[in-house]
């Protein structure tokens, strides 16, 4: 029996009554756990919009010619889908939700270093999201440039682009501040005795991510400011009609947006590195190798942006340098996969829902990674660059990687976050539909790209029809699975059976506190002894 020594720790963070009541108890709360949930619910709203737009696109593409919308609408739909999914879901994704909720608990701290700054980050997130939405609802036309805002089209388009750009800029600040907060927290607030090499792998991945957020995001901030200045004052940095260089825009954009891919995928890998040892009841294989590969990805990931621009116009030297660096960044990802699979070897595997999500994560991540090798090779890239092949590739990485890891993580940590267990059968049914639907939705796009179908295509030639039908069917199966998963979790958060403190017999610190955790997490800050560690089963 635990005895609460702090009065604020007698109830869970969900039941705690502070200075403010009702909704204000949430939106004015500086508790990292409540902020994590604030992010999760606001992301869920945006995710529903993003999925709806994705479904509309797949329905439009089920047959050549017009199906449900005209080309202008379609172009706006894929633009808003991209902006929402990239800037509001996958970039903040795991760090903002699970990072906020679990980073302090996993390293034995009561909160992050700067709780008020943490809340401010969420305000920035909401403000940025509202700005982007305002560009859809007001002004002369929804932005139709694609989420990449490529110059000079982004100057010629008559649509309401400025609020969208400003929104992306504000969202960037949310990301920078979260990164800063996590770096300081990890440096300063680890429990006594928890040396760097006793820290669990999810915080390690957040550490690598945080540095990218802090150092790379300002680049896109500056770029977006320049785009706005160019649109308002015609200063002539990017628009060739004014003497600017549109390729410069692409460089600046990808200097941020490629590392941003690692902002998305590193925490996903971190969550997988927690789930696999837990459900194998075994020490993680190659703990230091996984850390080294995390840091290698975070570092080399800065220098590969040019592979988005092989056909844009760069010198041959730049092209093959970027190509070889792209191949090198694949190696640490491969090392992680080898270590995860080796962790299962001679384990005692309990194939619960989080583990199923993790295994399918490894599968789709491998497909995404291997197709990335095709795109990294100069000759093969010439053929499939800017085709449906690229769309398939990054959905396998960004949605397959981040999405599967996110669902794995929510099923893993759910009993801790809400103190209740979900229906395990429905969780597996939802996973099965989602996985089958996902593969049916995105695999045909590899084929379409190899056949030569360009991306961002409203209409297509008849030879591309069959594969598009299959892909559209997959989108419905996947959404059906998604609904099962979400409904199951929502119902269980209210009515599920009360969960044990450590239902999966995991060894990291978050499982040593009550479920749901009390306001300040620990009554006494835990101390790591000589023999303690996050994976000592």
């Amino acid at each position: 029996m635990q005895t609460a020594t702090h009065p604020s720790n007698e109830v869970s963070y969900l039941d705690y009554k502070g200075k403010y009541k009702g909704i204000f108890g949430w939106i004015f709360s500086t508790d990292h756990k409540r902020i994590g949930l604030l992010y999760m619910y606001s992301m869920l709203v945006m995710f529903v919009v993003g999925v709806g737009l994705g479904l509309a696109m797949k329905l439009e593409l089920i047959a050549p010619g017009k199906t449900i919308m005209d080309p202008g609408t379609y172009n706006a739909v894929f633009t808003v889908h991209g902006v929402i999914m990239i800037f509001m879901i996958v970039i903040p994704g795991l760090p903002a939700v699970f990072g906020n909720f679990f980073l302090p608990i996993m390293i034995g701290a009561k909160d992050v270093s700067f709780p008020k700054l943490n809340l401010l980050s969420w305000y920035f997130y909401v403000a940025g999201a509202l700005l982007v939405i305002s560009s859809v609802l007001f002004g002369n036309g929804t932005p139709d440039t694609g989420w990449t805002f490529y110059a000079p089209y982004s100057f010629k388009s008559g649509t309401n682009l400025l609020p969208a750009i400003f929104g992306a800029f504000v969202l960037g600040f949310s990301s920078i501040l979260t990164g800063l907060n996590f770096i300081v927290t990890i440096h300063r607030m680890r429990a006594p005795g928890m040396t760097w090499f006793k820290m669990p792998l999810f915080p390690w991945s957040l550490y690598g991510t945080a540095w990218i957020q802090l150092l790379a995001t300002p680049v896109v901030g500056i770029t977006l400011v320049l785009v706005a200045l160019e649109r308002i004052f015609n200063i002539g940095v990017f628009d060739p009609a004014l003497g600017g260089d549109p390729i410069l825009y692409q460089h600046l954009f990808w200097i941020y947006s490629h590392p941003a891919v690692y902002v998305m995928i590193l925490p996903a890998m971190g969550a997988i590195s927690e789930i696999i040892p837990t459900f194998s009841q075994k020490h993680i294989f190659g703990y230091r190798a996984i850390i080294a590969s995390t840091l290698a990805i975070a570092f080399v990931g800065y220098f590969v942006w040019g592979h988005h621009m092989f056909t844009s116009g760069m010198s041959g030297t730049a092209q093959y340098t970027f190509s070889i660096l792209t191949f090198i960044v694949a190696i640490p990802s491969a090392i992680k996969v080898f270590n995860w699979i080796s962790t299962m070897h001679k384990g005692s595997i309990n194939p619960e829902a989080p583990f199923l999500w993790a295994v399918s994560f490894i599968f789709v991540f491998m497909i995404g990674g291997f197709s990335g090798l095709v795109l990294g090779a100069l000759a093969a890239n010439v053929h499939v660059h800017d085709t449906a092949f690229v769309v398939a590739h990054f959905h396998f990485i960004v949605f397959g990687g981040v999405g599967f890891a996110f669902f794995g993580a929510i099923h893993y940590w759910f009993p801790k976050m809400f103190g209740r267990m979900y229906d395990k059968v429905w969780a597996k049914v939802g996973w099965a539909f989602f996985t089958v639907g996902f593969l049916t939705l995105y695999s045909p796009m590899f084929y379409l790209g190899m056949m030569g179908m360009p991306r961002r295509y409203y209409d297509y030639l008849p030879e591309f029809h069959a594969a598009n039908i299959l892909s559209s069917l997959g989108s419905w199966v996947m959404t059906f699975g998604l609904l099962i998963v979400v409904i199951n979790l929502f119902r269980s958060a209210k009515n599920g059976p009360i969960a044990e403190m450590n239902p999966w017999n995991s060894k990291t610190l978050e499982w040593t506190v009550p479920s749901p955790p009390p306001l300040e997490n620990f009554d006494e800050i835990p101390v790591y002894g000589e023999k303690d560690g996050p994976y000592e089963y």
């Binding site: 294989f285 005692s348 291997f370 090779a377 000759a379 093969a380 890239n381 190899m450 030639l461």
Partner: protein
């Protein structure tokens, strides 16, 4: 080793590109299947019912070194084949046959050194062809899937792409950099002909003869087709990006000039201004900035003939 059998050797680059594709995909499939089956085998073999107690293994430096070195070698092999298939694309032979490609929203036009201008790319077989790429507005990307060539067409930059077509036939040519509303309709055709046939097409002046003997209206229509007017303007009254040409000549139109609405008569002078300075008067209900000025590309003589053609669209 080819990825699409129906385009085997359609150009001199197919072999190199497909080789890198097949090698990377081949290695990837071996690893994907091998690792997936290993993983599934572990999941079944070490299920908690069969193996209630896990054996704690923390790692193996030897294995880490092995599975760092092997992928490093493999990716360097992949890089090599990618480089080998791509390197010849960077420099066109000096004796290439030059064709100027002009991209605009939303079509490509092709101009030959003897002044011929078409909206289909005619090329001779077994001869190096160099396309000099020019964009008049935004970034486009010229992509001929069967030839495995692609290059962005960037305004303000000199770019080129070259190839040797090796099989007679018709091939699709796409724009594959998103360029606005009708991006997905920016499709042209490549026609590859044996060199002799190409030469007789190339020197065939019947088109020029026709230009002299045809009625101005027929000439106007051909000029408009070649420069791509009909991508955005219909002749049957339907609304596309710009207003339809049907029945506009001699009728009044409501336009926005400098933010103010006014009514103008569609006459010779108005048509000329609309072509040379399209954003001066924008027909009400349409967007500004979508059409580029055609000054320098069309002569006054061309515009007279275009006007004659528009008069016939009652």
């Amino acid at each position: 080793m080819y990825i699409l059998s129906n385009t085997t050797n359609a150009s001199n680059f197919v072999a190199g590109v497909d080789k890198s594709f097949v090698i990377i995909m081949g290695i990837s499939f071996v690893f994907l299947i091998g690792l997936t089956f290993t993983m599934l085998y572990f999941v079944f073999k070490y299920n908690k019912h069969k193996n209630p107690v896990a054996t704690q293994i923390k790692g193996s430096t030897k294995l880490e070194i092995i599975w760092t070195i092997i992928p490093t070698i493999l990716v360097l092999v992949m890089f090599y084949y990618g480089w080998a298939g791509w390197a010849p694309m960077k420099k066109a032979p000096d004796d290439s046959f030059n064709i100027k490609v002009t991209a605009r929203m939303w079509n490509f036009t092709f101009e030959y050194e003897n002044g011929k201008r078409t909206d289909t790319l005619f090329v001779p077989m077994d001869k190096a062809v160099k396309l000099n790429l020019v964009s008049l507005d935004v970034i486009h990307s010229l992509y001929i899937p069967s030839f495995r060539v692609k290059e962005d067409v960037v305004p303000g930059r000199e770019k080129m792409v070259w190839f040797i077509a090796q099989r007679e036939g018709l091939y699709d040519l796409f724009c594959t950099e998103y360029c606005g509303l009708n991006h997905s309709y920016m499709i042209n055709t490549v026609k590859v002909m044996p060199e002799q046939q190409f030469n007789s097409w190339y020197v065939d002046t019947t088109q020029q003869v026709a230009a002299i003997t045809d009625s101005p209206a027929a000439n106007g229509k051909r000029i408009m087709k070649n420069i791509g007017c009909f991508a955005c303007h219909s002749i049957d009254g339907s609304k596309l990006i710009g207003p339809s040409f049907k029945g506009i000549y001699g009728h009044e139109a409501t336009v926005i000039t400098g933010g103010k609405e006014r009514v103008v008569m569609v006459d010779d002078e108005y048509i000329k201004r609309s072509i040379y300075d399209p954003n001066a008067d924008v027909v009400k209900g349409f967007n500004k900035g979508l059409m580029m000025p055609y000054e320098g590309q069309l002569s006054d003589e061309d515009i007279v003939q275009i006007t004659e053609y528009l008069k016939t669209l009652k």
